[in-house]
C-alpha cells in the first residue's frame, strides 16, 4: 500500500504534471484545429453538394465520392498515408501539422454530412419565401437557412468533436507528443503502467466529459425551443 502511495507521489511531481498538462493542451489544439478547418470545408462541401447549377455537376460528384470514401477509412490508415504523402509536398511539415491535416481530412467528410442534415432540415418553403422576398442566395443562407439549421447541426457536431478527441490518441503512434504519448513517456520514466495510463484515461475523460454534457444539454434545449 505504501508502495502505491510513494509511486503516486513520484507520479505527481511538478515535472510530470506540467508535462501531462502540456500534452493535454496539444491534444485539444490538434482536435480544435482539425475540426474547425474540417467544419469550414465540410460546410462548403455540403453547400456544393446541394447546388443545382449544371456546370457544378462534376464537383458534386467529386464531393459525394470524397465524403463516402473518407467516412470508410480508419483514421490510422489516413495518418499513415498523410505521413508519407506530405513529404514530397511539404518536406518540413511537423508531426503536429500532419496529424492536424489528417484530422481535417476526416472531419471534413463527417461534418459535411452533419451540416448537410442541418441544411436539409430547413423546409424548402422557407427558401422559396426568401426567394419571393428577393433575397440573394448568400443572404438566404445567412439570414434564413443557417439560423434554423444550426440547432440541428450543433449537437451532433459536438458529439463528433468528442469522438475526435479520442481518435487523436492514434497520433501518438507517429510521435506527436499528445496525451497518449505522454502516457507512454510516463511509463518509460518508471511509473507503473496501470497508474500512468489510468491517469491518462482520466485526463481524456476530463477533456471530453464536459463536452459530452454540453452536447446533451444543447440537444435538450434546442429541441424544446424549436417552433
Amino acid at each position: 500500500m505504501s508502495g502505491v502511495l510513494e509511486q503516486a507521489r513520484a507520479l505527481f511531481s511538478q515535472d510530470n504534471v506540467l508535462f501531462v498538462l502540456a500534452a493535454m493542451g496539444r491534444t485539444l489544439m490538434m482536435t480544435l484545429l482539425g475540426c474547425a478547418l474540417g467544419f469550414i470545408a465540410g460546410m462548403l462541401l455540403a453547400l456544393l453538394r446541394r447546388s443545382t447549377r449544371s456546370y457544378l455537376a462534376p464537383v458534386r460528384l467529386i464531393a459525394a465520392v470524397y465524403v463516402e470514401l473518407f467516412r470508410r477509412i480508419p483514421f490510422l490508415v489516413i495518418l499513415f498515408i498523410v505521413l508519407f504523402a506530405i513529404g514530397p509536398i511539404a518536406p518540413d511539415a511537423s508531426l503536429f501539422t500532419i496529424a492536424a491535416v489528417s484530422i481535417c481530412l476526416l472531419a471534413t467528410a463527417f461534418l459535411s454530412e452533419i451540416v448537410g442534415a442541418g441544411l436539409d432540415s430547413v423546409p424548402t418553403t422557407q427558401v422559396q419565401a426568401a426567394e419571393a422576398l428577393n433575397l440573394g442566395r448568400l443572404r438566404t443562407l445567412r439570414y434564413v437557412v443557417l439560423p434554423q439549421a444550426w440547432r440541428v447541426i450543433l449537437p451532433p457536431a459536438i458529439a463528433f468533436g468528442v469522438m475526435f478527441i479520442k481518435d487523436t490518441a492514434l497520433a501518438s503512434q507517429m510521435g506527436v507528443v499528445e496525451l497518449t504519448f505522454a502516457g507512454k513517456v510516463l511509463v518509460n520514466r518508471g511509473v507503473a503502467p496501470a497508474l500512468g495510463f489510468g491517469l491518462i484515461l482520466l485526463c481524456y475523460f476530463a477533456l471530453s466529459y464536459p463536452l459530452t454534457r454540453l452536447g446533451a444539454h444543447l440537444e435538450r434545449r434546442l429541441a424544446t425551443s424549436r417552433h
Binding site: 470508410r72 480508419p74 490508415v77 479520442k166 481518435d167 492514434l170 497518449t180 496501470a194 495510463f197 466529459y209
Partner: protein
Amino acid sequence: MSYQFDFGPAFGSVRYLIRGAGLTLVIAFVSFWLGAVIGLLGALGKTRGGASLRRAIDGYVVFMTNTPALVQVYFIFYGLPSVGITLAPLTAVLIGLVLNSGAYLTEIIRAGVLSVPKSELEATEAIGLTRLQSVRYVVIPHVLRTVYGPLVNFFVLLVLGSSMAALFGVEELTGRAINISTTNLRTIETFIIVALIYVALTLCAQLALTAAGRRSLYRARPAKRSAYV
C-alpha cells in the same frame, strides 16, 4: 512533384492483405456480438434496475464512451501484468473493444427500448395480448426497427476502429499493411490499397446488412383472409 507511384509491389500482396481483412472482420464481429450481450444487459439494467445498479451502469457507459479505446487497451495490455494477468495482444484488444462497444450498445439499445410508446403497450393490453405476446409481437419488432440502423452504423465504426489492433502487433488488415510496407518501402501505395479494401469492406457490410434488415424487418406479410368471409 517527383514522386513516382508504383503499385506493383503492393498489388503483389493483395491476397496477404485480404486475409488480414478476414481477421479485421472477425475482431469487429466478436466485439459486436459480445458487446451486444453487455449492451442488452446494460439496457435492461438501466430501464428495469434499482437506483444503485443504474448509477453503476451509467458510470461504466460514461467512462468508456469518453475515453479512447486505444488507451483503454494500453491500460489492459500493460497495466494488468502488474497484478499477474498477462494477455496476448489480440486478447487484450478484444477485451478492450468488447468493453467499449458494450458501453455504446447499452446506449443504443436503451434508446430503442425507450422509443416504444406507452400507448402501444396499452393497445396490446386492450386487444387482450398476454405479456409475452406483446413483447414478441410489439416490443421486439419496434425496438429492432429503431435500433437496426444505428447498429449497422456502429458495426462499420467497429470495423474501422479495429485497425487500432495493429499498434499491438495483431496482424489484421492495417497490421499486415505495416508489415509489408516496411519491406516493400511503398508505404503510400500499400496504404492506399488498404484504404480501398476498408472502403469495400464497410460498403459491402453496410449494403448487405441494410438489405437483410429491410427484408426481415419490413417484410410485407401476406394478408390473412378475414375470418368472416
